[in-house]
């Protein structure tokens, strides 16, 4: 038991170090101009934050990194306070929250949702930790809070205390209703979509958007996308993901056995690599996935900005919870191929993000083979470029919604083909 606690403590410290690295790099980028950093953070926090709001463009690189790092540390703090074991799912949640801290989640808009989930736990008489993963992943709906607070024009007098109250109430409401929905939506795709909360939040976002429209409240927000970024972010990210591999190697020099076990998994939910393959091999896997994603951006000429860094962080974070190269590559290749033959160039924002986030369907490739993974990836691009409109960007995990739809459609077909075998 003492050994387990020691390992737990070490996992917390290592993940915290990576989150600190993100925040500290942001502070380094501000070059002593604290006023500019604070102004950037203010712009981020007071923006409607709907999909896609690139905080690197809106608030500046420094503020974006500080926001993301602080959010990652906050998520880690919530895990620690709730007493959650930091294994694959929790690590994926922390990295996802941090990653979306570059485009959509900020130090204000995540809390009402987390407290809403906590309220649900209290209502059900369950400890908050039972729903902690849903709370962290559920911050996908953070733009709803920001939109109500800073964008929705709820009051004829303009945004003010009333808007803030409505934003908090809106966040609490979606958080409160999320746990039963997230559990229910699992059944639809049988664990073949790793971004299950994104699937659930897509539908909640649809209801939220419909409600706002019914009340005659127009959505604000816009499309912010920083172009380029290779000169500024490529090397730091290279070091970041290489650091994961090196740390994994230091923790577990003989990581190959764990890595082999991890690679033998289909990745279907629940595949907690940290639990059964070890933290060291999982870190190596996480770093490798991040590096491959980064190289993809390099070779396709995709921009390195808030959303794509968020994609890389999420890709990497799920390296302890379902994703590895064997199951991710066929899906990503299918998504890339769909982009190559469609009207969406492979380096356009939507297609770039679709490839980075297509790993949500990795279990399809892992369980049914590379051809099925390729088909899932192909369909993913087609669906993801279509579904964004139904929630108006109020849910950040658009790829999770698409992944759920694709998995739900493909699964019965793949299962029936396998039965005939």
């Amino acid at each position: 038991m003492v050994e387990e606690q020691r390992k737990e403590f070490r996992r917390y410290w290592i993940v915290a170090s990576f989150m600190f690295a993100v925040a500290i790099y942001g502070m380094y980028l501000c070059d002593g101009q604290v006023d500019e950093l604070l102004a950037g953070l203010t712009r981020i926090i007071t923006s409607p934050s709907t999909l896609i709001t690139d905080y690197v463009l809106l608030g500046g690189p420094s503020a974006a990194f500080v926001n993301a790092g602080m959010l990652g540390l906050s998520a880690l703090g919530v895990c620690a306070v709730a007493g959650v074991g930091l294994t694959g799912p929790a690590i994926a949640a922390v990295f996802t929250v941090c990653g979306f801290g570059f485009f959509g989640k900020n130090l204000f808009n995540v809390w009402p949702i987390i407290f809403g989930v906590a309220l649900h736990s209290r209502f059900k008489g369950l400890p908050f930790k039972d729903h902690l993963l849903i709370a962290l992943f559920g911050t996908s709906l953070a733009p709803l809070v920001s939109e109500l607070a800073f964008g929705g024009h709820l009051s004829p007098m303009g945004n003010g205390p009333f808007s803030l109250v409505m934003a908090v109430l809106g966040g609490l409401a979606v958080g409160f209703f999320l746990p039963p929905l997230a559990k229910h939506f699992l059944v639809v795709h049988q664990g073949y979509n790793l971004y299950n909360v994104g699937f659930s939040c897509g539908f909640l976002g649809l209801v939220a958007l419909g409600t706002l429209r019914a009340l005659g409240i127009p959505l604000e927000g816009g499309f912010y996308w920083f172009h380029g970024g290779h000169d500024l972010f490529f090397v730091p990210l290279l070091l970041f993901f290489s650091g994961m591999i090196i740390t994994g190697f230091i923790i577990c020099p003989d990581f190959r056995r764990g890595l082999a076990e991890l690679y033998s998994s289909s990745g279907r939910l629940v595949s907690d690599f940290v639990q059964y393959a070890g933290f060291g091999p999982s870190l190596v896997n996480m770093g490798t996935l991040g590096l491959v994603g980064l190289l993809y951006l390099k070779f396709t000429g995709g921009d390195i900005n808030g959303p794509t860094i968020g994609g890389l962080m999420t890709l990497s974070g799920f390296g302890g919870f379902g994703k590895h190269l064997r199951n991710v590559l066929p899906v990503a290749l299918g998504t890339w191929f769909a982009g190559a033959i469609s009207v969406w160039p492979v380096n356009n924002p939507g297609a770039t993000l679709a490839v980075l986030f297509s790993g949500c369907l990795a279990p399809v490739g892992g369980a049914f083979g590379p051809a099925a993974g390729f088909a899932a990836g192909f369909l993913h691009l087609i669906v993801v470029m279509t579904v964004g409109g139904i929630h108006g960007g109020l849910s950040l995990y658009n790829n999770g919604l698409s992944g759920g739809i694709v998995a739900a459609m493909l699964l019965p077909v793949l299962e029936s083909l396998r039965e005939e075998d």
Binding site: V84, T87, P89, K183, G191, L269, V270, S271, Y276
Partner: protein
């Protein structure tokens, strides 16, 4: 009629997942025994005709015997008992307290678990 508590239902369901695992490994003679002790449901699954290989036993123990993580067990519980052909060992391991997993030529394979409220 005494209602079946949700937590007991989880233990009953979890035992079904483990029975499915044993069948997949070749067991054809399986006893599933339920016993209440001080309000806690204890489950013993015994298969006399199955001896697991060291590798399978070690893998099964790694998936089942570890500090219980309710946040995983509660959230992903919906996957257990579905029509999916595999078994949800990770969910079982986190939703119930698996006490021991043993396998030997004399005893066959025995899995003990319990679920408190």
């Amino acid at each position: 009629m005494i209602p079946v508590k949700g937590q007991w239902a989880k233990a009953i369901h979890a035992s079904g997942e483990l029975v499915a695992y044993l069948i997949r490994r070749g067991a054809r003679d399986i006893d599933n025994h339920y016993r209440f002790l001080d309000g806690v449901l204890h489950v013993e699954i015994r298969s006399k005709d199955l001896v697991l290989s060291d590798e399978d036993l070690s893998r099964l123990r790694r998936r089942l015997i570890h500090p219980q993580q309710r946040e995983i067990g509660e959230y992903y519980w919906g996957l257990a008992g579905g029509e999916h052909k595999g078994t949800e060992l990770e969910v079982v391991g986190n939703a119930t307290e698996v006490l021991s997993v043993e396998s030997s030529p004399d005893e066959g394979t025995v899995i003990l678990l319990r679920r408190r409220d």
